[in-house]
């Protein structure tokens, strides 16, 4: 892939206000949730039962806000492609670069790089802030503790997977509303449906839900009916890879 396509997509991304607004919204959501969860935990820690203490997850509990941030970043990623279809700009883009797969790969690369950087900064800051707050009342951990770096890292990687998924959905569906609807369905609705299956099926299938896999990837404690953290994050990457492959397959075959 020529670097000129990456540069062009980067110009597009940084020249619209919605990019900055999305990142700011994601940062605010994650940090506010992290601080409030950490504050509450620090206050309650002295009176918490040993059982509550041991079941408390000092990484994923404060990073709960990432649940919403992934949607904000996901919508941003959808728009990177879908807004070009809705305005007709995609025709100009493809006229300038008839190699459509390269265009899509450039879009995915640039958007994902931004999500990776923003995710690392936002989630890293939220982690450090929440641990600083919880350190006063105990219950906090540090990046050096077993599994902690992995959990925070997987939280960032999950955000990256959602970004690839969302960008691909934008290209597959070519419509903002459609792509966002499918993204929300995959992230929230499918896990809900799986959760309501008969016990036996639920037991086998729940772990395949995107949100469930994300929770398992970021959790410090092993959870029932889930894959291991590493298999879970690979599963999330698998969803993204399948969507990207489908988008790459379709983009050259349809009229723009």
């Amino acid at each position: 892939m020529g670097t000129e396509l990456l540069k062009a997509e980067w110009i597009k991304l940084r020249s619209v206000r919605s990019t900055y607004l999305s990142l700011a919204a994601a940062a605010a959501l994650v940090i506010i949730v992290a601080l409030s969860v950490a504050g509450t935990t620090a206050d309650n820690w002295p009176t918490m039962s040993p059982r509550d203490r041991s079941s408390f997850d000092p990484v994923s509990a404060p990073l709960f806000g990432a649940l919403f941030a992934q949607l904000v970043i996901g919508v941003l990623a959808v728009l990177v492609v879908s807004s070009e279809y809705s305005t007709g700009l995609i025709r100009t883009t493809f006229a300038v670069t008839p190699q459509r797969r390269k265009v899509l790969l450039a879009k995915v690369t640039v958007t994902t790089a931004l999500a990776l950087a923003a995710g690392a900064v936002i989630l890293g800051a939220a982690f450090l802030l929440s641990q600083a707050v919880m350190a006063h009342g105990h219950g906090g951990v540090s990046l050096g503790d077993p599994g902690v770096l992995r959990a925070v890292g997987y939280a960032v990687l999950y955000l990256v997977a959602v970004t690839v998924l969302a960008t691909s959905l934008g290209a597959i569906l070519r419509s903002t509303a459609g792509a966002i609807a499918v993204l929300f369905t995959l992230v929230f609705l499918v896990p809900q449906v799986l959760d309501h299956l008969p016990q036996e099926l639920r037991h086998h299938l729940m772990r395949f839900g995107l949100q469930r896999a994300a929770a398992a990837a970021v959790s410090l404690h092993p959870q029932a009916d889930t894959f291991s953290p590493t298999v879970s994050i690979l599963l999330c990457a698998g969803y993204a890879a399948v969507a990207l492959a489908l988008a790459l397959f379709l983009i050259g075959r349809r009229d723009a």
Partner: protein
């Protein structure tokens, strides 16, 4: 040069372009004319490789568009003035295209000045009027200084000054030896801008000819005469085989006789003539006549 050969494009049951063949040559403005829905935009998109034809080919400079090495340097196109992210500035929009198309960033400032958007280059395109967006679209088409340019309805939304500007631009691009294809559904506009016409209806070729030849072939050869004695004059002209129609309070519309012959007959009969002019059928009329069938047929289909 653009060569379209036997091009056919269907959308489901609609045949938007139907076995269309024409060539657009450099050095002149070629008007691409057809009523609404006749397949002009579809043809332009097919030339740009944006949609795959069901049959036939479209070549630019002898190559299918997808095989062009740096298309922005070879072909500039304005398809749709609305095709801009409303939140992006004109400059950033062009900058992204320039970088992707391997055009020097300096060209961005140049084309912005050329189309008269220099002052508003850093404003969000969402706030632009339709006319400003047309100019931005034209700027994008000129970015790579291409030998071939295509404009889909470029005067839509422009004020008279803007229309004159586009007309001048098309002519000067052609005068520089470029291949210029301009689509329109307005015959009158093309009469002023184009040297050559490709007329289509329902996706089929109706005419591929020079503007003057087009008029000569399809003109009705009417002569307009103004005379205070038009009753007597009409009698004389009818005796010599002319068709005469009364118009207004003093005018006659004469067919079947030349201007010279009418003047001579009036003089020989001592009848005063205040005005005597050959009247070309307007291009608009010719166009309407030529494309009427296709429009009507379309109307019937839509009604079903």
């Amino acid at each position: 040069m653009i060569e379209v050969t036997e091009l056919t494009k269907r959308f489901g049951r609609v045949t938007a372009v139907d076995g269309l063949t024409f060539t657009v040559r450099p050095g002149r403005v070629t008007g691409f004319l057809g009523p609404n829905g006749s397949g002009k935009s579809t043809t332009l998109r097919a030339i740009l490789g944006l949609e795959a034809p069901d049959r036939g080919t479209a070549l630019v400079g002898g190559l299918p568009y997808r095989d062009l090495r740096h298309p922005l340097h070879q072909v500039g196109a304005l398809l749709d003035a609305g095709a801009v992210h409303p939140g992006r500035s004109a400059r950033a929009h062009l900058m992204a295209l320039a970088v992707a198309g391997r055009v020097g960033r300096r060209r961005v400032g140049e084309v912005l000045e050329q189309v008269g958007l220099g002052q508003v280059a850093d404003q969000r395109a969402g706030g632009f009027s339709l006319g400003m967006r047309q100019r931005l679209g034209i700027a994008a088409a000129l970015l790579g200084d291409p030998p071939v340019v295509m404009f889909d309805e470029p005067v839509n939304g422009l004020d008279p000054e803007g229309i004159r500007w586009v007309r001048q631009l098309m002519k000067s691009l052609a005068a520089e030896g470029r291949t210029v294809l301009v689509s329109s559904h307005l015959m009158s506009e093309m009469a002023l801008t184009a040297d050559h016409l490709v007329v289509i209806g329902r996706g089929r070729l109706i005419a591929d000819t020079g503007v003057k030849a087009f008029l000569a072939e399809h003109g009705t050869g009417q002569v307009q005469v103004r005379s205070p004695a038009r009753g007597s004059l009409a009698g004389v002209l009818r005796e010599h085989g002319a068709g005469v129609e009364y118009q207004g309070s003093q005018e006659l519309l004469v067919t079947g006789l030349t201007v010279d012959r009418i003047g001579d007959l009036a003089a020989r009969n001592g009848l005063p003539v205040h005005e005597l002019a050959a009247r070309q059928a307007s291009l608009e009329d010719v166009f309407m006549n030529l494309t009427r069938d296709s429009v009507e047929y379309q109307g019937m289909c839509d009604g079903n």
